[in-house]
Symmetry: C2
Subunit: 200 residues, 2 copies
Amino acid sequence: MVIQTDTYQRIVDSAKDLMYARSYADVGVAAICDHARVKKGSFYHFFTSKQELTLAVLDTYYADYKNNIINIAFSSTLKPMERLATFNKLVIEFQQDIYSQTGHIYGCPFGNLATEMATQDEAIRQKIGHLFTKLQQLLHNTLQEAMDNGDIEPIDPDATARALLAYIEGTMMLAKTHNDPTVLQQLLPAGLQIRIPTTN
Amino acid sequence: MVIQTDTYQRIVDSAKDLMYARSYADVGVAAICDHARVKKGSFYHFFTSKQELTLAVLDTYYADYKNNIINIAFSSTLKPMERLATFNKLVIEFQQDIYSQTGHIYGCPFGNLATEMATQDEAIRQKIGHLFTKLQQLLHNTLQEAMDNGDIEPIDPDATARALLAYIEGTMMLAKTHNDPTVLQQLLPAGLQIRIPTTN
DNA sequence: GCTTGACTTGACCGAACGGTCAACTATAAT
DNA sequence: ATTATAGTTGACCGTTCGGTCAAGTCAAGC
């Protein structure tokens, strides 16, 4: 027999929205079930635990992120450094939209969950670690291409990619803390200037 | 009558340690009371709510931070950019110590709490926002002094200070997510190269 | 020595937590 | 038409949550 209902996805989608708006701990299984119009017993037919759901939520976060931001910004029709600028633009627009609708800056869904759960749940921490590594590789490849094209001076592309990721995440966190989208507008574009030179 | 016991401080200290190691939501009032060897009724003699305690905890976080890191690194006996390098060194040592003792990178106590609570609790969000602003001003003054001394080229000291703070916080978050102190060693020193030029 | 008020104690509250389960319905495959 | 199983339902579990409260202890101030 094949899957025949959309219950699984409704649960994941509800959890994704609720946990992003609030936090892992603040969103209970009951609240997720209510939002998804699903009974708790049905929830535990699809998931063995809240943790397992959260791992599935992370996949959906990433799929959304890839469809709505990565695939557009990191298009091969753009020059490498233009991709990074487009990425910044899309991130700012996304956060600005949420801010207009909710009055709150939500920040990065991966960063939020990692910060809350890293010392508590090893599986969740590792999963987010892998996702960050994938983002880092994307930035690395882009910087490498910019170097190869002579668009930027020679740098350490790996260290610079990690630094850029750290800068993006830190900017998101500051914007969330100040609940102010202009923080993103003022800081994110400057990230393109970050360079870590090769150490010889 | 004057305060005659150390109960208040035992509660704050316990909450500080537990919340830093775990999270706001994962540390209940009962756990804090157990750790502080205090009964719950006594807790509510000193605090009207868990939120009020958390605001007090933030003050203690900051006092510790100032005593152990800021006052040492930002000593006027050091040249401006040396202060930032010393700050990096002390932060790395602090996180490395915790990692050696617990096997976990805890990250920044302010960033952790802000990320978890910013959309949930306005008072906590604002308090951390103010603390970040204070740190930003410290960085600003240091960069300004470096500029005035001619140690660095002219930049936008305010934007650069905010960018540096974002970079530090993002680095802490990545190190926590990868649970790896070497992330700090590799990334933090490069933060001193961050420059945001003045926009004319 | 008595009063005052800071502090402590332990029992208690309703609500919410994550999770379980037996019974039931509906549907796909034979 | 029957069977097997995917999916649903609602009641229920023990535990913990943040918070309350009446009663009691204890020491400082008069």
